[in-house]
């Protein structure tokens, strides 16, 4: 039953010109799960996330989020989306950016909590143009989760974030998942993949392997996730 899954992607295909960005991807993610989409640049991670949020129209296949077929504008209030590029208004302050996205979702009460979560509450008056790359990334995350979405889509959320904050953010992701938030996080950093409950290895628009980090390593016959990815990707290249 589709309702049992927070996100249900079924045979999704999408091409851009002659390039097949998604080639029959099927994946099912349970509520409260942290699912890692792992793959090199250009593998199709961002296209898949965009298809889930309804920004990309699949040529075939379906995407269902929380029991409703996408695209569905009303369902978007339950989804948080952090784009790969820290999409922010550079002329506004930290607080004004979060307030704006909070107002769009009707979640004005969550502004302070979101800024505290990403450790930017002391920089609330700083204009975005004066922030470092890592700070912008954190602010972008705050804007994505200010309305406490049930499904959080994070496209490479920790790029440019220092190691200490990265650890803290992952602790927060786990806390949110414990509270029932479903998190799909894309990354090409293998040590982050270990923090996910389940992984989907994606390359050339296809899902090469899926499972817990331990299961993926076992499938490839190695103890190292990076090595596992290279072996699984290599098998696909050979076939």
């Amino acid at each position: 039953m589709a309702e049992a899954f927070a996100v249900d992607v079924e045979g999704v295909q999408k091409s851009f010109g002659g390039l097949r960005a998604l080639d029959g991807v099927t994946m099912r993610i349970r509520p409260g799960e942290i699912y890692g989409l792992l793959g090199p640049n250009g593998a199709g991670k961002t296209t898949l996330i965009r298809a889930i949020v309804g920004l990309v129209a699949p040529e075939s296949g379906t995407v269902t989020v929380l029991g409703r077929r996408m695209p569905d504008v009303d369902q978007l209030r339950n989804i948080g989306y952090m784009t790969q590029q820290a999409a922010l208004y550079p002329g506004l302050s930290v607080e004004e950016n979060v307030q704006f996205f909070a107002a769009i979702y009707g979640a004005e009460g969550g502004v302070t909590e979101a800024m505290q979560l990403v450790k930017l509450d002391e920089r609330r008056k700083s204009v975005v143009a004066t922030l470092s790359g890592g700070m912008r990334q954190r602010l972008s995350l705050a804007c994505a989760l200010v309305h406490k979405p049930k499904v959080l889509l994070l496209d490479e959320p920790t790029v440019g974030v220092d190691p200490q904050l990265r650890v803290e953010l992952w602790e927060d992701f786990h806390r949110m998942a414990d509270g029932g938030t479903t998190i799909i996080v894309s990354s090409h950093v293998m040590d982050e993949a270990e923090r996910c409950q389940r992984l989907g290895l994606i390359q050339y628009g296809k899902l090469l392997a899926e499972g817990t980090p331990a299961e993926v390593r076992a499938q490839a016959g190695t103890n190292n996730l990076e090595e596992a990815f290279l072996r699984l990707a290599g098998r696909r290249d050979e076939s």
């Binding site: 920004l55 922010l88 002329g91 009707g106």
Partner: protein, 366 residues
């Protein structure tokens, strides 16, 4: 449609501009500079071109003619030797010189008035005041020449304008509209494009915002700024430049507000067809220049070649300029069918581009 979400977009837009001093300067300083420059150019210029007079006439008429020319306000006349004339034209110290030959009076009495007029000729704009002064002097001479017995007393009645009505009054009415339309269009198209290039539009599209809410929020934000700009332009034009106004100031403001709506939504609509700011700027010559040339700002539409008149008839600025001139120069009010038509077409164009903007703003990026 959620008023809260629309208000969030409008508020954010105004917050952004509060810190963007360069754009604020473009909105509020540029119109004053453009209109002030236009006013100074037209009214502050030294309009009387220097003209040399060489009177070699052995009779009385050359002197009468020369003194009539010296009194003309169209030219700045000075006495020269006929032999210096050509050199003075070449060195640029004169735009023309007029020679009254030794037999000028004699030939005039025989029925031929034949002053020799030498024009520099490379600048048509400076030739016409010389010929105009010559005509006036001829009229004056005919009336004042001893024994002519002629009296010229034309009774001049103006339907619109008046003796003090000048080029700035004619152009000013149109420029008030043009400046607002141009600056608001440029700022809207670039601002909306920034939303796309910095990735925030993708984020908005992944939120519960409706397309209509985005367009309406933008429209309200820019309209607030543009209406403040319109008030500034209007006050400067009427109070500082003293541009002729025969009509109701609220009607001028109303026409400007309609143009603002059209400009904002045209900017939003066209930003959909540009991927970079550079591409957006390319719309300026495409959208603005034909309207400046063909909307009747510089040349009356009725004097254009027929095929161009057809183009003029579909440009919104043609109706806006016509409406502004009708109000300011002719004192038109809303009972005038021509003003109803002008305002209706500008409003209709605004509504059309709003719909086009909403229709082309795609939620899906692929």
């Amino acid at each position: 449609m959620s008023a809260r979400r629309v208000a969030a977009i409008t508020r954010r837009l105004l917050q952004q501009f509060r810190r963007d001093r360069r754009t604020l300067a473009l909105l509020f300083v540029a119109p004053i500079v453009i209109l002030g420059l236009l006013g100074y150019l037209i009214r502050g210029s030294q309009s009387a071109p220097p003209v040399g007079i060489a009177n070699e006439d052995q009779g009385p008429l050359g002197g009468v003619f020369a003194s009539a020319l010296e009194q003309s306000s169209s030219i700045s006349a000075s006495t020269i030797q006929a032999s210096d004339g050509e050199a003075r034209l070449k060195d640029g110290s004169l735009v023309a010189y007029i020679v009254f030959s030794p037999d000028f009076s004699q030939r005039a009495q025989a029925g031929t008035v034949a002053p020799e007029v030498h024009l520099e000729g490379s600048q048509p704009g400076t030739s016409s005041p010389v010929l105009q002064a010559l005509q006036q002097a001829l009229t004056s001479m005919a009336a004042n020449a001893p024994g002519s017995g002629l009296h010229f007393e034309p009774g001049i009645q103006y339907l619109y304008g008046g003796p003090g009505f000048d080029t700035l009054d004619y152009f000013g009415a149109a420029f008030i509209g043009l400046v607002v339309f141009f600056l608001v269009f440029v700022i809207t198209i670039v601002a909306f494009l920034n939303e796309r290039s910095q990735g925030t539009l993708e984020r908005l599209m992944a939120s519960p915002l409706r397309r209509g809410e985005i367009v309406l929020g933008y429209m309200l934000g820019f309209t607030v700024l543009a209406l403040i700009q319109s008030v500034e332009v209007l006050v400067f034009s009427l109070a500082v430049l003293n541009v002729h106004n025969q009509g109701n100031v609220l009607l001028i403001f109303g026409m400007e507000a309609l143009m603002v709506l059209a400009a904002v939504n045209l900017g939003i609509f066209l930003s959909m067809f540009a991927r970079t700011e550079f591409q957006a700027v390319q719309f300026i010559p495409l959208v603005i220049v034909p309207q400046v040339l063909l909307s009747g700002i510089l040349f009356p539409v009725s004097t254009e070649p027929k095929p161009l008149q057809l183009v003029s008839d579909v440009l919104p600025l043609t109706y806006a300029v016509n409406g502004l001139r009708d109000v300011m120069i002719k004192g038109a009010d809303l009972t005038w069918p021509s003003l109803q038509l002008d305002a209706g077409i500008v409003a209709g164009f605004g509504a059309l581009v709003i719909l086009a903007g909403v229709a082309t703003l795609r939620r899906r990026i692929a």
